[in-house]
């Protein structure tokens, strides 16, 4: 379980994360949505200890993220940020192999190699596993980074806006992948998303943030409604149901 306990973060005069408390138990796909500047990415950074909170704390399976040694935490928690540029010239296989680092500290064995191959296959890149990253398209590169997170095999995998720059086909493939990841027993996937329809379709639980606070938390059927659209996102539209899925349609 990830326990977020009264976390605050300030940038200058603005309270970017305002006393957020959440519990994220193991299993399934959790989506975090909210308008720009709501604090979603900041919260994710704080959970994954990439950023220090001004107050409050985050526990992952009982371990305080700021106090636990990196190597210990990395086995339980992985994070993928938005930009996917790498300075060195690496092949997909090289990159994904790094995902095993928390487990083998740089000395890969047979088991690691198998897991790396499996992760690359999971994202559908096995045909080009030995190509260099700069030879790939944006979507393929994105998938390579997801494979790295997969290889890391953490119990909690965090993704910050992984669908940016992907066309609808690739966005859907990616979300299907995340769904498969979250369906594996004991694995949790937490994704920051912009697209409400995607969140409604694939997430088990949606957390809504606005102005640094959590203003909604529950299943898509509870959270995706007209109130969300008008009060949080301040747009006019309708929420309808197709095949039991919530669908958002915005008025022009």
């Amino acid at each position: 379980m990830i326990e977020i306990d009264k976390v605050c973060k300030r940038y200058g005069d603005t309270l970017v994360v305002d006393t957020v408390s959440l519990a994220i138990p193991r299993g399934g796909v959790v989506g975090i949505v909210g308008p720009n500047g709501a604090g979603k990415s900041t919260l994710l950074s704080i959970i994954s200890r990439l950023m220090k909170s001004d107050s409050g704390r985050v526990l992952v399976d009982g371990l305080d993220v700021m106090k636990t040694p990196g190597r210990e935490l990395a086995r339980r928690l992985s994070v993928m940020r938005q930009e996917n540029h790498v300075a060195a010239r690496l092949t997909i296989r090289d990159l994904v192999a790094f995902g095993r680092f928390p487990h083998n500290r740089g000395r890969p064995n047979r088991d690691d190699q198998e897991r790396v191959a499996a992760a690359i296959a999971f994202v559908g890149l096995d045909a080009m596993a030995d190509r260099f990253l700069d030879q790939l398209s944006g979507g393929q590169r994105q998938r390579a980074f997801v494979a790295m997170a997969l290889a890391q095999d953490a119990d909690y995998a965090l993704f910050d806006e992984p669908l940016n720059n992907l066309d609808i086909h690739h966005a859907v493939s990616m979300m299907r992948l995340f769904r498969r990841m979250g369906d594996q027993p004991g694995k949790t996937v937490v994704i920051v998303l912009h697209d409400l329809n995607i969140a409604a379709t694939y997430a088990d639980r949606i957390i809504v943030m606005q102005n640094g606070r959590v203003v909604g938390d529950g299943a898509p059927s509870e959270v995706i409604n007209g109130h969300l659209l008008s009060e949080v996102f301040r747009v006019e539209g309708d929420v309808i149901e197709i095949d039991g899925r919530r669908v958002v349609s915005v008025a022009p």
Partner: protein
């Protein structure tokens, strides 16, 4: 991994090492006139200095480029050589030429190295506090501190007694041809110490290539690693500066050639290749300039120039992609 790669990396390593050994032997034996005992000591000392410097510059540059995530920069821009000069100048200004001259140069050197590590640590901490991951900021600050120190040294030199200035000139302006042999031992020891510290951390440094955040996400203590390696870089740069003076672009040349030959950028492979290339360039270069072209004293200038042109080429190439 494709079958070619481990083989070709090994090939490169063997080739570079052989060339390095060859150039060392040639340096010692080519065009040898006079009694062997004299040649051995005279050339031997210079060879030892060149090898130590080659090692220090190659390793410090590769490590620095990993830390900064940038292949265009070298630690020389951090102003360490300027700090060195300022320390020397202040010492002479404070104690006078005779007073400063009385201190054992090795002791002085060790103290100065410590001071440099201390100051670079301060700079590092100052700039990395508060999630400032802005590395160009660190480097630019280092450069500006360098400019500051150089100007302050200039100022002190104007103010001091002309006799003291002569003493300073003798001590502070080392070059490839004016090496203080007593310092070689200390420098070599520092190089060995640096190796011992860095060797177990090579795997972690490989991960750093992915960027700070990703490395942290994979469990690397990036802050601690960076601080330690930065200190090592400071020590190595001060060692080489004390021996042969400042060398701005040489490290750049050698590091980037090494990356060309070892594209996977794994430190365990890149470092030995870089060191080998550095030895070949310095030892071979000195030999070439001295015995073939007759430009005996121009090594640092030529190397700087060639390194600089390489830098431009790299910049151009990096943009095209």
């Amino acid at each position: 991994m494709p079958p070619d790669r481990p083989r070709s990396a090994r090939l490169v390593l063997v080739a570079v090492t052989s060339l390095a050994i060859l150039s060392a032997v040639a340096f010692m034996t080519l065009d040898a006139k006079g009694p062997w005992s004299f040649i051995l000591t005279h050339r031997g000392i210079r060879l030892a200095a060149l090898i130590t410097v080659a090692y220090a510059i190659a390793v410090s540059t590769v490590l620095f480029q990993t830390l900064t995530g940038n292949r265009i920069l070298t630690p020389a821009v951090m102003g360490f050589d300027a700090l060195f000069l300022l320390l020397q100048t202040s010492l002479v200004a404070a104690l006078g030429g005779a007073g400063a001259g009385a201190i054992d140069p090795r002791l002085l050197f060790s103290v100065e190295c410590l001071a440099m590590v201390g100051l670079s640590g301060l700079l590092f901490r100052l700039l990395f506090r508060g999630e400032g991951r802005n590395l160009p900021l660190v480097v630019l600050s280092g450069l500006l501190f360098g400019a500051l120190f150089r100007s302050l040294s200039s100022f002190l030199q104007r103010v001091m007694d002309p006799n003291d200035f002569l003493v300073l000139q003798g001590r502070a302006f080392a070059s490839f041809n004016v090496v203080d042999p007593s310092l070689i031992g200390v420098a070599a020891l520092l190089a060995i110490a640096a190796t011992i510290i860095v060797l177990p951390r090579l795997a972690e440094l490989d991960v750093l290539v992915l960027g700070r955040d990703r490395a942290t996400g994979l469990g690397v203590d990036t802050a601690r690693l960076s601080a330690i390696v930065f200190a090592v870089v400071a020590v190595l740069v001060s060692a080489s500066t004390a021996l042969v003076g400042p060398t701005t672009f040489f490290g750049l040349l050698v590091a980037n050639l090494a990356y060309l030959l070892i594209p996977s950028a794994q430190h365990a492979k890149v470092l030995p290749v870089a060191i080998g290339l550095a030895i070949v360039t310095l030892v071979g270069g000195q030999m070439l300039l001295e015995r073939v072209l007759g430009f005996g004293t121009a090594l640092s200038i030529v190397i700087d120039f060639v390194g600089g042109v390489t830098f431009l080429l790299i910049l151009f190439r990096s943009g095209r992609r």
